[in-house]
C-alpha cells in the first residue's frame, strides 16, 4: 500500500516535472529566458508573512496609521524583492563545459559556465544537478563564472547529465526563483576498479612465449625517459644528458611490450567483475608506468603502449563494453 502510494507520488512528480518548461541546451549552450524562470515564496517568507500579519493586527487594534504604513511598505518590499529575485536569474546563459571522465562511484566534476547577458551583476546564483550539492557564486555584469558541480556516478558507461537546476533567493531570501536546464550532454564513466588487490599478471600472454617474469626488463633498449630519482646510475644515458637538455635514463624492457596483456580470459566472474578486474590492472599498470595491452573477448583490442591516450582509450573501451 505504502509502496503503491510512493509510486503514485513519484509518478505524480514526474508528471509535474514534465509540465514545467525547461531551458534546452543547443550546442551545449542554453539561455534562461523569461519563460523558463519559475518563482515561489521561499520557506523563510513564512516568518515574513507572520510579521506582516502581526503588524496589520497591531495597526488595526491600536489604529496606528504609521503601523499601517510600515505594514504596507514591508508588503510592497516583498513584491519588489520578488521582482529582484526573478531579475537575478533571468537572462543568464548556461554553457556546459566538458567534464573529465571519472570512475564509477566517484564524484564527477562538471564545469558549467554561467554568463550574464543583461549587463547587471548577479548575486548568489546557486547551481546544482538534481539531488546533488549546489555551488553558489556571484557573477559580475557581462561576465561569466565557472561553476564546478559535483555529480555522483554509479555505473560505467555514458551517463546522461541530469537536469541542471539554477536557483537564487537573492536579495531578501523571501522568494525562490529557479530554472531547469536540460542538456543532451553525456559524461563518460569508467568502470570502478575492482577492490581486490589482485597482482598484475606478469605479462601472461597465452599466445606469446616471452619471459613471463619480465616487467621493465633490461634486455632491449627501447628509448629514453627523463631521469627520475632512483634510476640506476648505470642506466643513465650520459651521452644524451650531456647535450644540456636534462638528464635521461635509458629504458630497457624485456618482452613486456609484447607480453604484458590484460586479457578478458584471465579474469573470472560475471561481466562486471571481469571488467572491474581489467580496470584495476589498467589503472595499476598506468600508475607503475608499465606498457600494457588490452584484450577483450579474445581479440586484441589495444596494442601495448603506455601513453596517456592509450590509458584513456582502454578505460573507455572497458566503460562502454
Amino acid at each position: 500500500m505504502l509502496e503503491a502510494l510512493q509510486k503514485l507520488n513519484h509518478a505524480f512528480k514526474q508528471r509535474l516535472k514534465a509540465l514545467f518548461r525547461v531551458a534546452k541546451s543547443v550546442n551545449k549552450v542554453a539561455t534562461l529566458n523569461a519563460r523558463q524562470i519559475y518563482i515561489l515564496p521561499s520557506r523563510w517568507s513564512l516568518f515574513y508573512l507572520l510579521l506582516l500579519l502581526a503588524l496589520l493586527i497591531g495597526a488595526i487594534n491600536y489604529t496606528l496609521s504609521l503601523a499601517y504604513a510600515a505594514t504596507f511598505l514591508l508588503a510592497a518590499l516583498a513584491n519588489v524583492a520578488m521582482l529582484h529575485t526573478w531579475r537575478n536569474l533571468a537572462y543568464l546563459e548556461v554553457s556546459i563545459n566538458h567534464a573529465k571522465p571519472v570512475f564509477a562511484g566517484d564524484l564527477a566534476e562538471v564545469e558549467v559556465k554561467v554568463r550574464d547577458l543583461k549587463n547587471r551583476s548577479r548575486y548568489a546564483i546557486c547551481a546544482n544537478f538534481q539531488d546533488e550539492r549546489s555551488t553558489t557564486q556571484s557573477i559580475n555584469a557581462n561576465t561569466s563564472e565557472i561553476f564546478t558541480l559535483p555529480l555522483t556516478t554509479h555505473h560505467r558507461g555514458y551517463l546522461s547529465m541530469p537536469r541542471l537546476r539554477l536557483h537564487t533567493e537573492f536579495p531578501l531570501s523571501l522568494f525562490h526563483a529557479w530554472a531547469v536546464v536540460k542538456t543532451e550532454e553525456k559524461i563518460l564513466v569508467y568502470p570502478k576498479p575492482s577492490g581486490d588487490a589482485l597482482v598484475i599478471p606478469n605479462g601472461i600472454d597465452p599466445d606469446s612465449k616471452g619471459n613471463q617474469s619480465m616487467l621493465a626488463g633490461d634486455e632491449d633498449f627501447t628509448g629514453h625517459k627523463t631521469y627520475q630519482l632512483g634510476d640506476l646510475p648505470s642506466k643513465v644515458d650520459w651521452k644524451a644528458s650531456s647535450k644540456g637538455m636534462g638528464m635521461f635514463s635509458k629504458q630497457y624492457s624485456g618482452e613486456a611490450s609484447t607480453s604484458l596483456y590484460f586479457d578478458w580470459a584471465q579474469t573470472t566472474g560475471d561481466t562486471e567483475a571481469r571488467i572491474a578486474q581489467l580496470t584495476r590492472w589498467v589503472v595499476d599498470a598506468q600508475a607503475a608506468q608499465l606498457t600494457y595491452g588490452l584484450k577483450l573477448n579474445g581479440q586484441i583490442q589495444f596494442m601495448p603502449n603506455n601513453s596517456n591516450n592509450h590509458y584513456h582509450a582502454c578505460l573507455k573501451a572497458l566503460a562502454t563494453r
Partner: protein, 664 residues
C-alpha cells in the same frame, strides 16, 4: 519543480560580517526604543548583543541552555519588578526586545537570521505605539533600511560591501513606495480595537480631569503639548471669546470640586442663541478622557458627541486616538433661563465647616442685587494685591480663606473656585467651568493651536433673565491672561515650557512651521481613519462608496501597481557600459577592421592569444591589454582606490591606442 537541493542554506552558518550587520541593525532598533523604556531594558539588551559579539570575536562557546533559562528567569523577575502585574504595551515591547537579544545568543543559521530580522522589523514598527510624529517616522527609517540591508546580506554567502548593500536596500525600499501608497490610501480601515488594549497604552495622555483640586490645573499649564487644533471656516474669533468648554464642576468637597453625580438626573439646560454661528473643525489629541472640547456655546454638535445637562460635550468612550470633528457655536446666548429648584440647590451648596471668613464675607453681601455682588467680588480681586502666579504657596484645609485673605497668590483655579465659593455664600447660584482658554494662531496654516498650557478655569453665575453668565475672575487680576495668553500674565519667576514663552521668537517661528508640518501630517497621515478614508474616496470618486467598493478598488489598483512596478523593473534598459568596457569595445572595433573578432564564449585572454598568433609582433601587447582589462573589470574593487583605478583606466586607453598605431 524538482526537489533535490539537499543543500539549502538552512544549516549554513553565516560569517562574522553577517553577525556585525545584524548586531548594528538590531542596535538601531533598540536605540529607537531607548527613550521610552526603562534603562535596564536597553542596557540588558545591548549587553546581550555585546556578549554575542565577543562570542564571535573571541570564539567563546554559545551559552548553554541552562544558563539561558536562568537568564530568562532573572529577566522575567526584572520585568515583573518594573511593570508589576499589569502586562501591557511597555512590558510587551520590553519583552520583545529582551527576547530578541536572547535569541541572538543562539543565532547561527540563515533561519535564525531571518527570524530575528522579522522580529526586529516588528520592534521598529512598535515605536509607533509610543509616538507617531513625523520625526519618529523619519527616524524609524534608519533601522528599517539597516534591517533590509542586513536581510540582503543574509541571502549572500559573503557580505557585500556596505555601500552596495545600502544602495540596494535603499533602492528596493524606494521602489516599494508606490505600492505602499496605493495600499495606504485604499486598504479599508477598520475601526479598532480588535481586542482590549492594556491601560498603560494611554499612560502618557494628559487632559482635563473631572475633579479640580487646588493646584491641579497647574500641572497642565506646565505642559506645552498640543491639546487640540482648530480650523475656523471663517475668521478666528477674538481671544476673549475663545472659551473651550470642558467639564463643569458643581459640587464642593473640602478643597475639591466635582461634576454632578450621574445618578442625580438634572434636566437639560435650555439654550437660546442670537449671535452669528461660528463653524469650525477641531482635531483633538488623544487624552484618554471623554471630553470633546467645544467653543462656548455649541449649537450644532459633531455626530460622536452627546451633551450633558450643563453643556459639556462628551464622547461615548475615552478619546484614545486623534479625532476630528466639526461643530458650530455661537458667542451670544442665553443658557438656562429657568433654574430648577434642584439645580439651584446644587449651585448654592457649600461646605460650611471650613472657610468661615469667606462665608461671612459672602453672607455680608447677601442682601445686595446679584450683579453688585459679582462686582464686589471682582473688585476684591482687582483692587487688593492679588498676584497671578503658577507657583502659589501651599494652602491648608481652609484653602479659600487662605487664598482670599492671606496668600492672595494663585492662578485661574484659585480665582474661579474662591469666586464661586463667595457667590454661593452670598446666595448667587454659581459653578466652575474648566476647559481651555485662548490658543495660539499659527499664521502658516491659519489655524489655532490650543495647548495643555492653555487649560483654564472660570465661573458661571446664574442671573435671572440672563441664565448662566460667564464670569472670569482671573481676568480681574490678570486681564492679559485672557487677552494675550498665559505667557503675558506671568512674572518671570514662573517657569513655562520654552514654546509658551514669548521671548524666543525665532524658536517660536521655527516651532510654528514645524507645528504646521505636524498638523498636516496629523490630518492626512495619522488621521487617515475609516471616516476620513471614506470621505476622501467619496470626494475622489464623486460617489458614495461602500467598504466592498474600496476593497475591490484596492485589489485592482494593487494589481495595476504591481504590474507597473514589474514592467519598470524587468524591462529596464540595460545600464550604460562602464568606461572600461567602452575602451575595450573600441579595441575590438579596431580589430574587427582587420577581420578578427572574439568568438562567442571566448574570454578576453584567449582572444588575445589568438591575436598574438595573427600578429606575432604584438602578441605581448595584446595580452597585456587583456590582462589589464580583466583586472580593471573583475578585480576586487575594494583593493583599488578611486585614484589608482582612474590611472589604470588611462593606462588601458594608452595601451589600446599604441597597439593600433603600431599595427598600422
Amino acid at each position: 519543480m524538482f526537489e533535490g537541493t539537499s543543500d539549502t542554506m538552512t544549516q549554513k552558518t553565516l560569517s562574522s560580517h553577517h553577525l556585525y550587520w545584524l548586531l548594528v541593525s538590531l542596535g538601531s532598533a533598540l536605540a529607537l526604543h531607548s527613550i521610552h523604556l526603562p534603562i535596564w531594558i536597553t542596557v540588558t539588551t545591548a549587553g546581550l548583543g555585546i556578549w554575542r559579539y565577543f562570542i564571535d570575536k573571541k570564539h567563546w562557546a554559545l551559552p548553554k541552555l541552562r544558563w539561558l533559562i536562568l537568564l530568562t528567569l532573572l529577566i522575567c523577575i526584572g520585568l515583573l519588578f518594573s511593570y508589576g502585574s499589569s502586562f501591557g504595551r511597555d512590558a510587551s515591547v520590553s519583552l520583545l526586545l529582551i527576547m530578541s537579544g536572547m535569541k541572538l545568543l543562539e543565532t547561527k543559521t540563515v533561519r535564525d537570521y531571518i527570524l530575528i530580522i522579522s522580529i526586529a522589523y516588528f520592534i521598529v514598527a512598535s515605536t509607533y505605539v509610543f509616538s507617531q510624529t513625523a520625526s519618529t517616522f523619519l527616524l524609524s527609517l534608519i533601522p528599517l533600511t539597516l534591517l533590509t540591508a542586513t536581510l540582503v546580506q543574509t541571502s549572500l554567502p559573503q557580505t557585500l560591501n556596505s555601500r552596495l548593500a545600502f544602495k540596494l536596500a535603499g533602492k528596493m525600499l524606494l521602489q516599494s513606495i508606490p505600492l505602499m501608497l496605493v495600499l495606504f490610501v485604499l486598504f479599508p480601515r477598520l475601526p479598532g480595537p480588535i481586542w482590549g488594549i492594556s491601560k498603560d497604552a494611554y499612560s502618557g495622555m494628559t487632559g482635563l480631569d473631572d475633579v479640580l483640586e487646588l493646584g491641579d490645573v497647574g500641572h497642565l499649564i506646565r505642559n506645552s503639548s498640543v491639546a487640540f487644533r482648530v480650523q475656523f471656516d471663517e475668521n478666528i474669533p477674538s481671544a476673549n471669546q475663545l472659551y473651550w468648554r470642558g467639564p463643569v464642576l458643581w459640587r464642593q468637597q473640602q478643597n475639591q470640586w466635582l461634576t454632578t453625580e450621574s445618578n442625580v438626573p438634572l434636566s437639560h439646560e435650555s439654550l437660546m442663541t442670537t449671535g452669528i454661528p461660528i463653524d469650525y473643525t477641531i482635531t483633538l489629541e488623544p487624552h484618554n478622557r471623554h471630553w470633546l472640547l467645544l467653543l462656548d456655546m455649541p449649537t450644532k454638535l459633531p455626530d460622536l458627541a452627546t451633551l450633558r445637562h450643563d453643556y459639556t460635550a462628551v464622547a461615548k468612550s475615552p478619546v484614545r486616538t486623534r479625532i476630528r470633528y466639526q461643530a458650530t457655536s455661537s458667542g451670544q446666548y442665553t443658557l438656562s433661563s429657568e433654574l430648577s429648584p434642584q439645580q439651584r440647590k446644587i449651585a448654592l451648596a457649600i461646605n460650611r465647616d471650613n472657610n468661615l471668613e469667606a462665608i461671612s464675607l459672602g453672607q455680608s453681601w447677601a442682601q445686595l442685587p446679584a450683579d453688585v455682588i459679582i462686582n464686589k467680588a471682582l473688585k476684591k480681586f482687582n483692587q487688593e494685591p492679588f498676584v497671578y502666579t503658577l507657583r502659589p504657596p501651599r494652602l491648608s484645609s481652609n484653602a479659600i480663606d487662605d487664598f482670599l485673605f492671606k496668600t492672595q497668590k494663585g492662578f485661574c483655579e484659585h480665582y474661579a473656585s474662591s469666586f464661586v465659593f463667595l457667590m454661593r455664600a452670598a446666595g448667587v447660584p454659581a459653578r466652575i467651568v474648566t476647559g481651555y482658554q485662548g490658543g495660539e494662531i499659527n499664521p502658516n496654516g491659519n489655524y489655532l493651536i490650543v495647548r495643555q498650557s492653555d487649560a483654564h478655569a472660570w465661573a458661571e453665575v446664574w442671573l435671572k433673565n440672563k441664565g448662566w453668565v460667564r464670569i472670569d475672575p482671573t481676568a480681574a487680576v490678570a486681564p492679559e491672561r485672557i487677552e494675550q495668553g498665559i505667557e503675558e500674565a506671568l512674572t518671570e519667576m514662573d517657569e513655562l515650557p520654552i514654546f509658551v514663552r514669548q521671548n524666543a521668537t525665532w524658536l517660536k517661528k521655527a516651532y510654528l512651521n514645524w507645528d504646521n508640518i505636524n498638523n498636516t501630517w496629523n490630518q492626512w497621515i495619522l488621521g487617515y481613519d475609516n471616516k476620513r478614508q471614506l470621505a476622501f474616496l467619496n470626494k475622489l470618486s464623486g460617489e458614495k462608496l461602500s467598504l466592498s467598493d474600496i476593497a475591490i478598488s484596492m485589489i485592482v489598483a494593487m494589481l495595476v501597481m504591481m504590474l507597473v512596478t514589474a514592467v519598470l523593473l524587468l524591462t529596464k534598459k540595460q545600464g550604460k557600459p562602464s568606461l572600461v568596457d567602452r575602451q575595450y569595445a573600441q579595441h575590438i572595433k579596431q580589430l574587427s577592421k582587420i577581420g578578427v573578432q572574439p568568438q562567442i564564449g571566448e574570454g578576453s585572454v584567449d582572444f588575445a592569444y589568438r591575436i598574438g598568433q595573427l600578429l606575432p609582433k604584438q602578441a605581448k601587447q595584446a595580452i597585456n591589454i587583456a590582462t589589464l582589462y580583466n583586472e580593471l573589470k573583475y578585480g576586487p574593487l575594494q583593493n583599488n582606490s578611486q585614484m589608482r583605478q582612474s590611472k589604470q583606466l588611462q593606462l588601458l586607453k594608452q595601451m589600446i591606442q599604441t597597439f593600433h598605431r603600431s599595427k598600422a
